[in-house]
C-alpha cells in the first residue's frame, strides 16, 4: 500500500492501544499540527485510524492568582500574623494584625471573608481570634495554585472555588486524538510506502490518472510571483475611449477630418478676424511645405469673406480687419477641431445636415507653444456640437452639466466669456473631484450667425471644447502631462497606471 508521506508519518506514529493527541503526533512526525489533522482525517476516511474528540479544560492563573502563589493567599497571611500577635490565646485588635500581615485595599476584605470560611478563626466586633488547630500548610487552594503553575491537574471543586475568586481562568478546547484501527494495524503489518510529493501537475498525470495518488507539495501561496510582461491600453487613449462612450451614449456621432487644413476651415469659417492675435505664427503651426491649398469652395469662400467684411443680417457689422484669400489658403496644423465642425456643418464632410444633429470628435490639435508640465504642442481636443431648431443657453447648460457629471464633476458654473465664433459664450468651471478646487473645464457657446449663415445653416448650433489631457489630469491627479503623452513617457509609468473604465 502507498500513502502520501504526511499520512504515512501519522499512521506510523499512532498507536492502537491509546489515542494520541494531535499535538503529540505533530512533535513525533515533525509536521505542522494542521498538516497532521488533515492527514488524520484522510486516514480516517481510508478506515485506517479513528479520530476522537475530547473537551479539555486548560486552567491558567490570573495575575492575581500568580501574585498569591508568590506571596501567599491573603487569609493565610492573616492567620500567620494573627498567631504572631497571640490571637490563639485571646482576641486581638484586627487593625494591628492587618498591618502586620501587610494587607491593604481590597485584599483586606478578601482575607477576612476567606479567613472565617476556612476556619482559621473568628472575627467579632473588630477583634480577631485564631484557631490554634488550623493548618495553613494543608490549605487546598494554596496547593492548587502551585499545581496549576506546574501544569498538574487539580480537583474540580477547588478549581471552581479558584475560578469564583478570579484566581484562575478556564479555557475549554477540543483535543483530537488518533488511534489505529484494526485495518490500520493490518496495513502497517503488511507494509506501507510513501507516495512521492509532486511539484507540478502534468498533462501526463491527468491522462494516466496518477494525479489521484500523488501528493502535491505545498507552495508558499503568500509569496509574490514574478509579474508578467503585459500589454495595456495607454491611459490617455483609454480616457478618450471613455469620453467617446459617454458621448455616443448621449446621442453624438463621431467626426473625422484633416489635421493639416487650410486656414479657411480652421479660422476664417469660424469668423476669426485675420489679424486676430491667435492667428500669428506664435500660436499656430503654419506649414512652410506645403504652404497653400489648391482649392477652396468658391461660393462658401465668398460668403465667409462677406461675413468678415460686412457682417450678416440687416444691421450686422463686419470686422475692421484686413482679409485676403491668400491667407485663407494657408495650410496649418489645426489649432482646434472646430475646423471639423465647420466641415460637417457646411455639408462639405457628409452632405447637408438637417436638424436635429449631434456630433463630436476626440482628436489631436496643435499649438505652437513651449513644452512644459501642463502644456503640450499637441493634445486631444474634445469637441462637440448640437444642432436643433431652437436652442437656448439652458439647453447648453443642461447638456454640459450632464456630460461632466459622468466624470464626477458636479456644480458646473458658467462664466460669460468671449469667443469670436460663439455668442453667448461661456467658460465652464467645475469643482475638482479630489481637491475641491474650482477649475476651468471647457469653453462653449452658441455659434454666431456670422459663422452659421455662410455655412448655410439656418437653425441653432451650440458647441463646446475641452482638452482631454485636462480631463485626465483632473480625474487621475497627474501632475506632469509629459509623463503620459509622447516619447518621453516612462514605460513603467504606463505599466503601473490604474486602468480607466
Amino acid at each position: 500500500m502507498e500513502l502520501p508521506q504526511r499520512e504515512l508519518a501519522v499512521l506510523e506514529a499512532a498507536s492502537a492501544d491509546e489515542p494520541t493527541p494531535i499535538a503529540a503526533l505533530a512533535s513525533a512526525t515533525g509536521q505542522k499540527p494542521e498538516t497532521v489533522t488533515g492527514a488524520a482525517f484522510d486516514l480516517e476516511e481510508r478506515g485506517l485510524v479513528a479520530v476522537t474528540e475530547d473537551t479539555v479544560a486548560d486552567v491558567e492563573l490570573t495575575d492575581e492568582g500568580e501574585r498569591y502563589r508568590a506571596d501567599g493567599l491573603p487569609e493565610v497571611r492573616l492567620y500567620a500574623a494573627a498567631l504572631d500577635a497571640g490571637a490563639d490565646e485571646a482576641p486581638v485588635s484586627m487593625g494591628a494584625v492587618l498591618g502586620a500581615a501587610d494587607l491593604e485595599g481590597p485584599e483586606v476584605d478578601i482575607a477576612l471573608s476567606n479567613y472565617a470560611r476556612k476556619g482559621y478563626g473568628e472575627i467579632a466586633s473588630g477583634d480577631l481570634s485564631a484557631d490554634p488547630t488550623a493548618d495553613p500548610e494543608s490549605d487546598a487552594e494554596a496547593a492548587a495554585l502551585d499545581r496549576i503553575a506546574d501544569g498538574d491537574p487539580i480537583d474540580d471543586d477547588v478549581r471552581e472555588t479558584l475560578e469564583r475568586r478570579d484566581l484562575v481562568v478556564v479555557n475549554e478546547r477540543t483535543v483530537r486524538s488518533v488511534a489505529l484501527t484494526d485495518d490500520g494495524v493490518d496495513a502497517l503489518m503488511a507494509g506501507v510506502e510513501a507516495t512521492e510529493a509532486v511539484g507540478q501537475l502534468t498533462p501526463e498525470m491527468l491522462a494516466s490518472g496518477e494525479w489521484a495518488d500523488v501528493e502535491f507539495a505545498d507552495y508558499n501561496v503568500e509569496a509574490d510571483a514574478e509579474t508578467p510582461s503585459s500589454g495595456k491600453t495607454h491611459v490617455l487613449r483609454a480616457t478618450a475611449e471613455r469620453v467617446k462612450d459617454v458621448l455616443v451614449g448621449m446621442g453624438f456621432e463621431e467626426m473625422e477630418g484633416p489635421h493639416a487644413d487650410s486656414e479657411f476651415w480652421i479660422n476664417d469659417a469660424l469668423f476669426m478676424p485675420q489679424d486676430h492675435p491667435a492667428r500669428t505664427h506664435w500660436d499656430q503651426f503654419a506649414l512652410s511645405e506645403p504652404s497653400e491649398v489648391d482649392d477652396l469652395p468658391a461660393d462658401l469662400l465668398e460668403r465667409v469673406e462677406s461675413a468678415h467684411r460686412e457682417g450678416v443680417g440687416r444691421d450686422g457689422d463686419g470686422y475692421h480687419s484686413p482679409w485676403t484669400e491668400e491667407m485663407a489658403r494657408g495650410v496649418d496644423l489645426r489649432g482646434h477641431t472646430t475646423s471639423l465642425s465647420m466641415r460637417y456643418l457646411s455639408g462639405e464632410a457628409v452632405g447637408d445636415l438637417e436638424p436635429p444633429q449631434r456630433y463630436f470628435s476626440v482628436e489631436k490639435v496643435y499649438r505652437n507653444d513651449t513644452l512644459d508640465a501642463t502644456h503640450l504642442l499637441e493634445f486631444f481636443q474634445i469637441e462637440g456640437w448640437v444642432m436643433a431648431e431652437d436652442l437656448s443657453v439652458r439647453d447648453l447648460m443642461g447638456t454640459f452639466t450632464e456630460f461632466y457629471s459622468q466624470f464626477g464633476i458636479e456644480d458646473v458654473r458658467f462664466k460669460p466669456h468671449y469667443n469670436p465664433y460663439t455668442e453667448p459664450s461661456f467658460e465652464l468651471f467645475g469643482t475638482h473631484p479630489r481637491t475641491g478646487e474650482v477649475i476651468e473645464i471647457g469653453n462653449s457657446g452658441l455659434f454666431r450667425p456670422e459663422v452659421l449663415e455662410p455655412l448655410g445653416v439656418d437653425c441653432d448650433v451650440m458647441a463646446w471644447g475641452l482638452a482631454l489631457e485636462r480631463l485626465l489630469m483632473l480625474t487621475h491627479g497627474f501632475e506632469d502631462i509629459r509623463d503620459v503623452h509622447g516619447t518621453l513617457a516612462d514605460i513603467d509609468f504606463l505599466r503601473d497606471t490604474e486602468v480607466v473604465y
Binding site: S229, S230, G231, K232, T233, H234, E241, V248, G251, F252, E253, M255, P258, H259, A260, S262, P277, H281, F285, E289, P290, R314, D315, G316, D317, G318, H320, V331, L333, P356, Y366, N368, T370, L377, V386, D390, S392, V393, R394, D395, G398, T399, T401, R413, F414, K415, P416, Y418, E423, P424, L446, R448, P449, E450, H485, G486, T487, A489, D490, D492
Partner: protein, 609 residues
C-alpha cells in the same frame, strides 16, 4: 487673455459702494466675465478676461460696468464734448503704411492717486489687444501745456463753457447725432479749430532729433530704434517704412508713433490738460481706442474737447462718439435665454447693460427693440451680441439648466472602431499601447533611422514642415510611427525587458492632393527582448491578419532601417502596405539599445472591410 490690475479700494470709490467686501466684488466681477486670478504685490486684484469688452481694461471701465450691474446707472451714456480748439494737420508726407490719425483734448483731469498708473495700464492693454501690439493702432498721451500750437491763442481766450450736443440728456433717450464732420459745426468752432495745430507727417529716419521718454539724449528716430530699449522693441513695426511717422508742434518733433513719445510732453500726476493722439492702419480701430481712453478720463473728472483732424481732402471732428444701432426681437431674446420675459424686463435689462433702448410693438409679429450702442463698445457686431448683454444683465448663472428635448442617434466612425479593435488585438498580444507625438524632427524621423527623405520605402516620404517652429525638436510631422517607438525605447533602457510596444496612430507625408498632405493611420509594433527575431514580428502580423480576416504575404524587400535578408514587405490582400523585419543594429546602437528589436509598420486601412 488680458490680465488687468484693479485696486479694489478704487473700485469701491468709483462705484460708490464702500460697503462691498473683496469677496463680494470678486463674485460680482465673475458675473461680468472677469475672473479673479490672484492678488498683485500691491494688493490689487489681477483680473483676467476675454478681449471683447476692451472698455473694461481699466478700473474706470470696470467700475462703470459694476455701476450698471448694481442698478446705479442705466441706459446709454455719452459724454458732452467742447468744440475743437486744436487741429491735427495730416501732411502729405505721412507714410502710406500708417495713414490714419485721431485724437482728443481732455482738460481738468485729476491724475493723482492711482489714476495715472491706471491710464498707463489702459494704454498698454489697448496696445496689446485692439492695437495688435501697436501695429494697428498706437496711443500717445501728452501734457498739453508743453505743446506749442502753431497759431496758439492764450489760454483765457479758450471757450470756457462746454458746447452741448443737440440732445442734452443722453442717458435717458437715444441721440440723433450722426455727423462728426466739420460742416455740422458752426463757423466759430471752425475758427477755434484753426487756432492751434500740430502736424502728423512722415520724417527722414535720420533727420530731426528729439529726446525720447526715459532718456536724456537727442536722437533721430532711426537712432531710437537701435539705441533705446523701447525703440528696439518696436523697431520691427517700421521695417519697410521709407519715412517714419512723427508728430510735430511749433517746437518740433514731440511724438514718434507707434514707438515712443518725446520727454518734453511727458504726462505726470500733476498734468491737468492732456492731448491724446492715436495713429494706425484703420480709422475705426483708432477711433474706438480713443473713445475708451476718453471714457476713462471722463470718469476721472476730465472734460473732453474735440480735435479737428484735417486730412488732405476732408476735415473731421474727433473723438467720434457716434452711437450704433441694432434691432433685436423679443422672440430671439426669449428663445436664446430659454425664459419668458416681459417687455419691461427686457428694457430694464438693456438699460442695466448700459445700452439705450426703445421698444416697437408690431402686434402679431411681436416686439422689436431698437438698441443704441455706446461708442466705447467694440464688440457689438450683430443683434446676438445684444442678446448676450441681456443675458449677462439677467445673470446667466440664474438660468436653470435643462437637458434638450432633442433625439439623435450616436455612433463612431468606422476608422475609430477599427483603430480600437486593432489596439485591443495588440494589447492582447502583450504590447504596451503607446501614444506618441505626431510632431518630430528630421533627425529622429529619418537620420537616426538610417533613412533619407524622398526615398521610396515606408516612412521615406517628404514631410509636412512647420514654418516657424518654437522648438528645434518639433519641426515636421512624422512620416511614420516606428521612430517614435524607438525613441521611447531609447528613453527606457533602464526599465525591465521585454518591452513589447505598439502604437496605432497618425502619420503624414506630402503629396499632390488639395492640401498637399496625405494623412494616414498607421499600425506600428515592436518586439523588444533578448531573443527577439523576425519570426516574432511576423507571428504577430499573422495573428492580426487572422483576426481581421485578411490575406497576409511577406515577400522579401529591403529597407535601410532593417537588416537585409530579414526584411519583408507587408502585403495585405495583394497590396503592399508596410514593412516588417529585424531593426538594423546601427539603428539600435544609435538609440543605445542593447536588445534586438523586431518590428512592423503598416497602414491601418489595409485591415478595413
Amino acid at each position: 487673455m488680458p490680465v488687468v490690475d484693479v485696486d479694489p479700494d478704487e473700485l469701491r470709490e468709483l462705484t460708490g459702494h464702500e460697503e462691498k467686501s473683496d469677496d463680494e466684488l470678486k463674485d460680482d466681477l465673475f458675473g461680468l466675465g472677469l475672473e479673479f486670478e490672484g492678488m498683485s504685490e500691491d494688493g490689487e486684484f489681477q483680473l483676467e478676461f476675454a478681449p471683447d469688452r476692451l472698455d473694461r481694461l481699466s478700473v474706470e471701465g470696470v467700475a462703470r460696468s459694476l455701476r450698471y450691474q448694481y442698478g446705479d446707472a442705466s441706459g446709454i451714456y455719452v459724454p458732452d464734448t467742447n468744440d475743437a480748439e486744436w487741429t491735427i494737420e495730416v501732411d502729405e508726407s505721412v507714410p502710406d503704411e500708417r495713414p490714419y490719425v485721431t485724437g482728443a483734448i481732455v482738460r481738468g483731469v485729476d491724475l493723482s492717486g492711482g489714476a495715472l498708473e491706471s491710464l498707463i495700464q489702459l494704454q498698454e492693454k489697448l496696445h496689446a489687444t485692439m492695437g495688435r501690439k501697436r501695429a494697428k493702432g498706437a496711443i500717445g498721451i501728452h501734457d498739453l501745456t508743453m505743446i506749442k500750437g502753431r497759431s496758439a491763442r492764450s489760454a483765457d481766450e479758450r471757450v470756457s463753457s462746454p458746447k452741448r450736443r443737440p440732445a442734452d440728456d443722453r442717458a435717458a433717450e437715444p441721440r440723433d447725432d450722426g455727423g462728426t464732420a466739420t460742416e455740422s459745426h458752426d463757423p466759430d468752432a471752425t475758427d477755434a479749430a484753426a487756432s492751434n495745430s500740430i502736424t502728423y507727417r512722415g520724417v527722414d529716419p535720420n533727420g530731426d532729433t528729439f529726446v525720447p521718454l526715459d532718456d536724456d539724449a537727442e536722437r533721430t528716430p532711426a537712432a531710437v530704434l537701435t539705441e533705446h530699449p523701447t525703440g528696439e522693441q518696436y523697431a520691427d513695426l517700421l521695417t519697410d517704412y521709407e519715412r517714419y511717422p512723427a508728430i510735430y508742434d511749433d517746437l518740433g518733433l514731440f511724438s514718434f508713433p507707434p514707438v515712443i513719445n518725446g520727454r518734453r510732453t511727458e504726462v505726470t500726476e500733476d498734468s491737468r490738460d492732456l492731448l491724446v493722439e492715436l495713429t494706425g492702419t484703420d480709422q475705426w480701430t483708432i477711433d474706438r481706442m480713443c473713445n475708451i481712453i476718453c471714457y476713462a478720463l471722463d470718469a476721472r473728472g476730465g472734460t473732453i474737447e474735440d480735435v479737428t483732424v484735417s486730412y488732405l481732402d476732408l476735415d473731421v471732428e474727433k473723438p467720434d462718439f457716434e452711437t450704433d444701432e441694432k434691432v433685436v426681437t423679443h422672440e430671439r431674446i426669449e428663445s436664446t435665454l430659454g425664459i419668458d420675459l416681459t417687455e419691461d424686463d427686457v428694457l430694464d435689462l438693456l438699460g442695466r447693460a448700459g445700452l439705450g433702448a426703445e421698444s416697437e410693438d408690431w402686434g402679431e409679429q411681436g416686439t422689436d427693440y431698437v438698441v443704441e450702442i455706446p461708442p466705447y463698445r467694440t464688440d457689438v457686431l450683430h443683434p446676438v451680441d445684444v442678446v448676450d448683454d441681456v443675458g449677462r444683465a439677467y445673470g446667466f448663472n440664474d438660468l436653470v439648466p435643462r437637458y434638450p428635448d432633442v433625439s439623435t442617434v450616436g455612433g463612431r466612425t468606422e476608422r475609430s472602431r477599427l483603430e480600437r479593435a486593432v489596439r485591443e488585438t495588440l494589447v492582447g498580444l502583450g504590447h504596451q499601447d503607446l501614444l506618441n507625438f505626431h510632431l518630430t524632427n528630421e533627425a529622429e524621423n529619418y537620420d537616426r533611422m538610417g533613412l533619407s527623405a524622398g526615398s521610396d520605402v515606408v516612412g521615406g516620404g517628404e514631410p509636412a514642415t512647420i514654418a516657424e517652429p518654437y522648438s528645434e525638436d518639433y519641426t515636421i510631422v512624422r512620416t511614420w510611427a516606428l521612430p517614435s517607438l524607438v525613441a521611447l525605447l531609447e528613453n527606457n533602457t533602464h526599465r525591465a525587458y521585454p518591452q513589447d510596444v505598439a502604437e496605432v496612430g497618425f502619420a503624414a507625408e506630402r503629396d499632390d492632393s488639395n492640401t498637399g498632405v496625405a494623412e494616414r493611420r498607421t499600425v506600428a509594433g515592436a518586439v523588444v527582448r533578448h531573443d527577439a527575431s523576425y519570426e516574432d514580428a511576423k507571428a504577430r502580423l499573422q495573428v492580426i491578419a487572422r483576426d481581421f480576416d485578411v490575406d497576409l504575404e511577406t515577400p522579401a524587400t529591403t529597407h535601410p532601417s532593417f537588416i537585409d535578408g530579414r526584411t519583408a514587405s507587408v502585403v495585405i490582400d495583394g497590396e503592399t502596405v508596410g514593412v516588417v523585419g529585424e531593426v538594423h543594429p546601427e539603428v539600435l546602437v544609435e538609440h543605445d539599445l542593447e536588445v534586438p528589436v523586431a518590428a512592423f509598420e503598416f497602414r491601418l486601412d489595409a485591415l478595413a472591410d
